[in-house]
């Protein structure tokens, strides 16, 4: 970087907040186009104030008590009321079915009020006798990245920061380490003399990311999917440091998705839009796979390099691959037991 660029970069850093503020003021319409607008930020500030008050009055023990005591503070508007109740909800794992239904109702209503959107948020539980597994055929993948695109659209990933769960590495034939791999290639594929290897969250059976979370905001479900409760995560990023596969992504800023591109078929633990300051990751498309569909990446792959299925079903394709192909996993020595295998034809 030349000195000039450095200075320009510095200036940009200085200007950024002010610029954004100006934009926000001038262009009120722009905010509502995004799934999470300035309103969300406002409400967060409100939450903090109320929380403080709640702590001070010692009423924090029961959200219901607090809510009646302090609702005048929120101005009584429906949105403030809903946000208030959302703020004091429990960790998803501890909620009863009624509480889950209640939060879904609130979230759907909030989307309506804030973005005029009508999402359908499921809470479909893990199905009995299902343990999901994934296999990736490195002889077939050509690096087309259709999976990446499908994932972004299916899972409402932040377009602002160009977030991607899937990474495709281009590796020279004869090399095996990721150290020599190229994770950002911008040229025509497939490149002569190279093979391609995709990574994402591997849904480890023994996930280090889950162990370290101080608030239990991330856990492994019974069907083997490792999920994050976006409303419970405090954003400490310990899990991101603990993941040996770069499987996690953090929302460094408020995610931005054009309103007409938001996938409205959502799951509480899956692709519902996230807020800034929370962790997210691949969920094996929980909103699809628990209903018997394939993950978006598997469906999008034009070469058939991606195999997904139930590891407990002896007749599944994934079981066939595991039984008949030469398979390997990344960093097996760490004992994480990823449910994501690589194989060759």
């Amino acid at each position: 970087m030349s000195n000039r660029e450095k200075i320009a970069e510095k200036v940009r850093q200085w200007l950024k907040p002010a610029d954004r503020r100006r934009l926000r003021r001038d262009d009120g319409g722009a905010d509502t186009r995004f799934a999470e607008g300035a309103d969300a930020v406002m409400n967060k500030r409100l939450d903090r104030r109320q929380a403080l008050k709640a702590m001070v009055t010692g009423a924090a023990a029961g959200a219901a008590v607090v809510q009646t005591a302090c609702s005048p503070l929120g101005g009584g508007s429906e949105k403030a009321q809903l946000n208030w109740e959302e703020y004091f909800k429990k960790n998803y794992r501890l909620m009863t079915d009624e509480e889950r239904a209640a939060t879904v109702t609130r979230l759907e209503r909030l989307s309506k009020l804030e973005q005029n959107a009508d999402p359908h948020i499921q809470t479909t539980p893990p199905q009995k006798g299902v343990l999901f597994g994934y296999a990736f055929n490195i002889s077939k993948c050509q690096g087309y990245m259709d999976c990446v695109k499908a994932c972004i659209e299916e899972n409402n990933l932040d377009r602002g920061s160009n977030m991607q769960y899937i990474r495709i590495f281009e590796i020279e034939n004869g090399q095996d380490g990721l150290a020599s791999a190229n994770g950002d290639f911008y040229h025509e594929v497939p490149a002569e003399g190279h093979y391609y290897l995709g990574t994402q969250c591997f849904h480890c059976e023994n996930p280090p990311c889950v162990k370290v979370c101080p608030v239990g905001a991330t856990w492994k479900e019974d069907d083997g999917i490792v999920v994050v409760d976006y409303d419970w995560c405090i954003g400490c990023r310990y899990c991101e440091a603990a993941c040996p596969y770069f499987g996690r992504r953090f929302n460094w800023s408020t995610p931005q998705i054009p309103a007409d591109e938001v996938n409205q078929e959502q799951h509480y633990l899956g692709n519902r839009p996230r807020k800034k300051g929370v962790m997210e990751k691949c969920t094996f498309c929980v909103q699809r796979t628990r209903k018997g569909k394939l993950p978006a990446c598997v469906e999008a792959c034009p070469t058939g390099a991606r195999v997904f299925g139930n590891l407990l079903d002896p007749d599944s394709e994934i079981r066939y691959v595991l039984a008949n192909k030469k398979v390997f996993r990344l960093k097996e020595e760490l004992g994480t037991e990823p449910k994501f295998w690589y194989f060759t034809d």
């Binding site: 510095k10 929380a51 590495f169 380490g177 791999a181 370290v212 101080p214 608030v215 239990g216 460094w252």
Partner: protein, 412 residues
């Protein structure tokens, strides 16, 4: 005459802390100014998100957690004074120990502040409160850290409070009442530091941290930087206030600092040997740190500076004639403090992320927001430290006592 009660104590303490010479007010004013700058930067960060920092998904902890790690060490170092004073009845340390505990309290306040500003959702921090939230204990080392740090803070507030309050009332503190807590706090200090080291050492995903020497090295460097810092503070107190510190205290503290710095260097050498004698893939973080990797070398100047400072300071401290000269002692303590701040902060936390688990090499450098916030938090720490030491000194020198304990005509 009214009986003394804690309300009088805190009122008098407040008055003491907020009055003083012009120099004192200027100093506190500067700190306040820095805190205001830091608050502004934090406000920007709250509004925009952590995107205004230099951190990314690749290097997901930066300056905040680096400072946090270093300050835990500083807090733990108070034990170096506590141990001999209260348990072995070493009168020499008596005057210094309250200062040491003031350092510990200030460092802990800074630690908690650094962790808070690092959170993506500080308003959801109540999820950490056991029972109310979901406290993932004992699995998560971070919950251990929350426990031990808050416990240590409580201990380091209570013990000095009891002692100072007794003196304020004109009584002699009862040893039987506080000694058990002192013993506890000694173990606790080692605990906070080991737990913080385990926070990193428990992550097999990061080979640079995943080694058994991390804990002991944390301790050694803490016991060098901590007493080194206390020497500096005592140096300032000795020259700026009426509270004189005897030379033998400096000598003893300098001894501790020196031995710890030597042990720290030995461990550094052992680490370097393992990493570089036969470099494996796991040595790449160290490679990045000391020499740069694939043309990325943001940390190289930092760590080389740290090593040079470290070696120079340790050598100077190890030579008796040099160490005995007060200005040289203070200067080398400052160098050592700076060296360990770099080495254990930026030099320990950041390279753990580079290269990333999939081989990505992404540089990290802090932005103005991070620097301002960091500056603000340090200013806050010094603010606390100044206020606490001022009160402690005024009590210990008998200038702040309760009216009922005042002996004829003495001025408060």
């Amino acid at each position: 005459m009214s009986k003394p009660n804690p309300i009088h104590f805190f009122k008098d303490a407040f008055v003491t802390a907020t009055s003083g010479s012009l120099r004192y007010h200027l100093w506190m004013g500067c700190l306040t100014f820095l805190m205001i700058l830091g608050s502004y930067a934090y406000w920007v960060q709250l509004r925009e998100g952590l995107v205004v920092t230099g951190m990314t998904d690749h290097v997901s902890w930066g300056m905040y957690i680096s400072n946090f790690t270093f300050l835990v060490g500083l807090a733990a170092a108070a034990v170096m004074l506590v141990l001999p004073t209260y348990i072995l009845d070493d009168v020499d340390f008596g005057r210094a120990v309250l200062i040491g505990e003031g350092v510990a309290v200030s460092a802990l306040v800074m630690c908690l502040a650094f962790v808070t500003v690092d959170l993506g959702g500080p308003h959801r921090a109540w999820h950490l409160i056991p029972k109310l939230g979901y406290f993932n204990w004992p699995q998560s080392l971070l919950t251990w850290d929350v426990l031990v740090l808050n416990g240590y803070l409580a201990l380091n507030l209570l013990i000095p409070f009891y002692i100072l309050y007794s003196h304020y009332k004109g009584e002699k503190p009862d040893k039987r009442k506080y000694l058990p807590f002192v013993v506890l706090s000694v173990f606790w200090a080692v605990g906070i530091h080991l737990v913080t080291a385990f926070l990193y050492a428990g992550l097999p995903a990061r080979p640079f941290w995943h080694n058994a020497l991390l804990g002991p090295r944390f301790l050694a460097s803490a016991f060098a930087a901590g007493p080194g810092f206390i020497i500096l503070v005592l140096g300032v107190i000795h020259t700026q206030t009426a509270y004189t510190i005897r030379s033998v205290i400096f000598d003893k503290l300098a001894m501790i600092t020196t031995v710890a710095a030597q042990i720290n260097l030995v461990m550094l050498g052992s680490e370097l040997f393992v990493e570089f004698y036969h470099p494996t893939e796991h040595a790449e973080s160290a490679m990045y740190l000391f020499f740069g990797l694939d043309g990325h070398d943001a940390l190289v100047p930092w760590i080389r500076t740290a090593i040079v400072l470290n070696v120079v300071a340790t050598v100077v401290l190890s030579l008796h004639p040099l160490r005995r000269r007060r200005p040289i002692l203070l200067a080398s303590c400052a160098l050592l403090f700076l060296a360990i701040w770099i080495e254990k902060g930026m030099g320990m936390v950041v390279p753990g992320f580079i290269p990333g688990p999939l081989g990505d090499v992404v540089d990290y450098s802090p932005t103005w927001v991070e620097i301002w916030i960091t500056g603000g938090i340090w200013a806050m720490g010094f603010f606390f430290l100044s206020a606490l030491t001022k009160v402690a000194i005024e009590i210990e020198t008998g200038r702040m006592v309760h009216v009922s304990a005042r002996k004829g005509g003495e001025d408060a």
